[in-house]
Amino acid sequence: MSQSTATAAPLKAKRSSPRQMGTAIGYAVLAATLVALVFFLVLPVSTILYKAFRAQGHFSLDYFRLLFANDLQTTAIYNSLLIGVAATLLCTVLSLPLAVINARYDFPGKKLLTGLLLTPMVMPPFVGAIGFQRFFARRGSVNLLLLKLGLIDSPIEWLEGGRVFWAVVVLEVLHLYPIVYLNLTAALANIDPSLEEMATTLGVPRWRQFKDIVWPLARSGYFAGAIIVFIWALTDLGTPLLVGFQETMPVRIFNMITDVNENPVGYALVCLVILITFAVYLLAKTSTRGKSYDMMSRGHVSSAVKKISAVSAAPFYLLLVVTIAAALLPHISVLITSLSSKWFMTVLPEQYTLDYYKQILHTDLPLIGIKNSLLFSGSSMLIDLLLGALIAYVVVRKLIPFAGLLDALTMVPLALPGIVLAFGYVTTYTNTILDPFTNPTALLIIAYAVRRLPYMVRSAAAGLAQTSIALEEAAATFGASRFYTLRTITVPLVSANLIAGCLLCFAYAMLDVSDSLILAMKDRYYPLTKAIYVLFLEQGSGEFVASALGVVGMALLTVCILGASLLLGKKMGELFRSG
């Protein structure tokens, strides 16, 4: 192949061949990606590492010593790890039956219900926490209901002491279980049913079939989801912050941002988060190494999906409906809070009003938040569209030798916790032209763009992979240049995927929590989520306006996600799988 190109080259030496053009595009995209990642991923992370291990001009572990000597910090570390472990375990327990039901049974209404199971994933847990708190406050709906029913004599302090820990865990689980569920479902559906049937003919009991056959084969798929949940729960800032659980790593880090130059222990703490993240990924990788098996099924495979009637599916309905209801409870409570006018000592509000929605339009902070978020998210979306689509093109069409490497590189932001990135930006770019203390616009846009780039790349790659290269080659035979082909053939064919990617990038940027809370320091530059947070802290009607703003955010997100899933179809789930 390369020989024929070599001999053909002199014949048209004046014009570069499409192949050379493709390689040029490939390297240009690789270079752009590398520059972006070096400046906005590698540099911030290395700066943190550098500062964490350097005191008085040389290598030192002093900050770590200080960190571990401080009871407040060690408690926070311990709490966060525990949140991560508890959330992962509970997500697993909750997801396993759901995944088995989805992978093995078919019943009326399955599509709708299993689709609804995914809704919590697209709802910001941070917003849900506002309503959750209202429901579980001392004089909140839950206590009042229990008192009324005579189940308790005095109100339970749900959000005090040890219970606040579980409040955070429950909120994380209700938000994150779809990730484990999606990965497990895919892993289970991938297992050929005859593998279990063979064991059945040998008399292997069901539980041993699961232990010896199903689990080993589904394990790597499960881990792919579980590590995302663990890291996410461990590093989530919004939920503990709003529930008021101060003794967690993310909240500690958040509180240390403003005086990080006087108190370098913050570097050590963020460094610890990086190390934990890295260790967990490494652990998952090594424990599943060489354990991924091709299902060798060829030819006819009998379907594993068993059709059952609505009556026999009754327990499934119950489980699905309860799960969906529980998962949506925080968001329903936000909605009720935002609409309540008189709500005192009653389970549900006595009167409803739209006043807080009107206030959004007549108060400065909410409007600034919406305007800023639209600007930041829109800009980051455009960056993702351009870079993400090009990366996907280079990767799928294998325009350069190390296309796989480029793909792996762009997936790194998916693994890096937002709080680490935001902290890194503050440390690296303070007192530079990008200083977030003066104007965080550029850094916010970049942070949004970097963290959502993987969604764009995956969406576009999914579309490109389905579009035969022959369609492009056909255009080339008519003398179309690569750019012309790209513009007239390729882009129109994958436009649905590109739009879906844009919607996802935009929606997730709009409701980004860690970058927004950390990087936006002046109220002039507050994005939506920071505005919600600040309003929430205000006395008086702040909490209600914050809820109304949260509902607006959720509505926006829902529309975007629905649009994206309509465009992407089944591919949607693949965006939330690691590795």
Partner: protein, 365 residues
């Protein structure tokens, strides 16, 4: 172990996958369930295995009713079409896994494993993972795994359908050899009639959930019960005809291109009855027109197309009513027959089978 189906039916919702199946499978036989896809043969096998439950009827193993017994208690060994090898276990572990559930001493277990590996010539590959094996080797692992537990009935579900042609021939011999050595009653599901003819001691042909004929391979080829079987087992020419009475020791039939005589058999026919005549391509002999010797069934046809294959010649012959008959001439003489030439062909009355008319031959294939 003799296996008996006694009025067995299986319904999926409203679909009748197996309809009132009555069949005896002799002890020690290599019994084929043959039919096109969707005919119910795999369902029948799965009913035997206990992986599906019957809607009605009984299944007996050596006189014992096993209809309600779970798969594990029937003493069957199964080879799945896709082998169903556990990809995370080595060859030895795959085979040993089932043995671990039997009450066997460590020594017995090792002995069984060794035997199974030897029988299927896998000893060298015992420590490999299935993913590192070729298709043929994987097939042998599946066989070894099923045999290791010493089943009383061995069930094979299209075991060779995923192999290429050359390997399939080798594996046919392999399975036949293992069957001869072990003498285990074996039920073998396939859609490949060559497999059934070359290996089977008895072949049951299924179509659309019903058993049509159960007979030895030779019996099936020479005396098919229906035009469907005649066409499914080997190649044949089917001609619709009407019975017109007897003529000089022969049955006389009238068809679209003339009269055909067949040898008289113990068949009850009434004049005017519609039948389907079947004769194999190799039973037709062809002469160039003009040099025709007198014969019982001279058919005047036009040579439509000729494919020369060296050891044989395949002819497509057009009859006066535009039907195409296929003829295979073995060891063909040198001649210069041109396409479009009129020729006379012959079919000996002995070779023509009189079969009942069957409608809708296309369905189920």
């Amino acid at each position: 172990m003799e296996v008996t189906f006694d009025h067995v039916s299986k319904k999926y919702g409203d679909v009748l996958a197996v309809e009132d199946l009555n069949l005896k499978i002799a002890e020690g036989s290599l019994h084929f369930l043959l039919g096109p896809s969707g005919c119910g043969k795999t369902t029948t096998l799965r009913l035997l295995a206990g992986l599906e439950s019957t809607t009605s009827g009984r299944i007996l193993f050596g006189g014992k009713d096993v209809t309600a017994l779970p798969a594990a208690e029937r003493g069957i060994g199964m080879v799945f079409q896709n082998y169903a090898l556990w990809p995370h276990m080595t060859v030895a572990k795959n085979i040993d896994y089932g043995l671990g559930l039997k009450r066997l001493s460590g020594v017995q277990r090792e002995q069984r494993l060794k035997e199974a590996l030897e029988l299927t010539q896998l000893t060298r590959l015992a420590d490999r993972l299935p993913g590192q094996l070729s298709g043929g080797q994987q097939q042998r692992v599946a066989l070894a795994r099923a045999l290791a537990i010493r089943p009383t009935v061995l069930l094979l579900d299209e075991p060779l359908s995923n192999l290429d042609a050359q390997l399939r021939l080798e594996m046919r011999d392999n399975i036949s050899r293992i069957h001869r050595q072990t003498k285990i009653t074996t039920v073998y599901v396939t859609h490949d009639q060559k497999e059934a003819l070359s290996m089977g001691t008895e072949v049951s042909v299924l179509r659309a959930g019903r058993l049509i004929q159960s007979a030895s391979p030779r019996q099936l080829y020479h005396h098919p019960a229906t035009p469907f079987i005649a066409k499914f087992i080997g190649e044949t020419n089917l001609v619709n005809a009407t019975y017109r009475g007897d003529d000089d020791g022969h049955h006389l039939f009238e068809c679209g291109f003339g009269h055909i005589l067949t040898t008289r058999r113990k068949q009850v026919l009434s004049p005017g009855q519609a039948v389907t005549l079947s004769f194999r391509p190799e039973t037709i002999s062809v002469q160039v027109d003009g040099a025709a010797r007198p014969s019982v069934n001279p058919l005047r046809v036009v040579l439509e197309h000729l494919t020369y294959l060296g050891e044989s010649e395949q002819l497509a012959l057009r009859t006066s009513d535009q039907q195409i008959l296929r003829a295979n001439i073995f060891n063909p003489p040198e001649h210069d027959l041109q396409e479009g030439t009129a020729v006379v062909c012959n079919v000996h009355p002995e070779h023509i089978l009189v079969l009942p008319v069957e409608h809708d031959l296309s369905s189920g294939t």
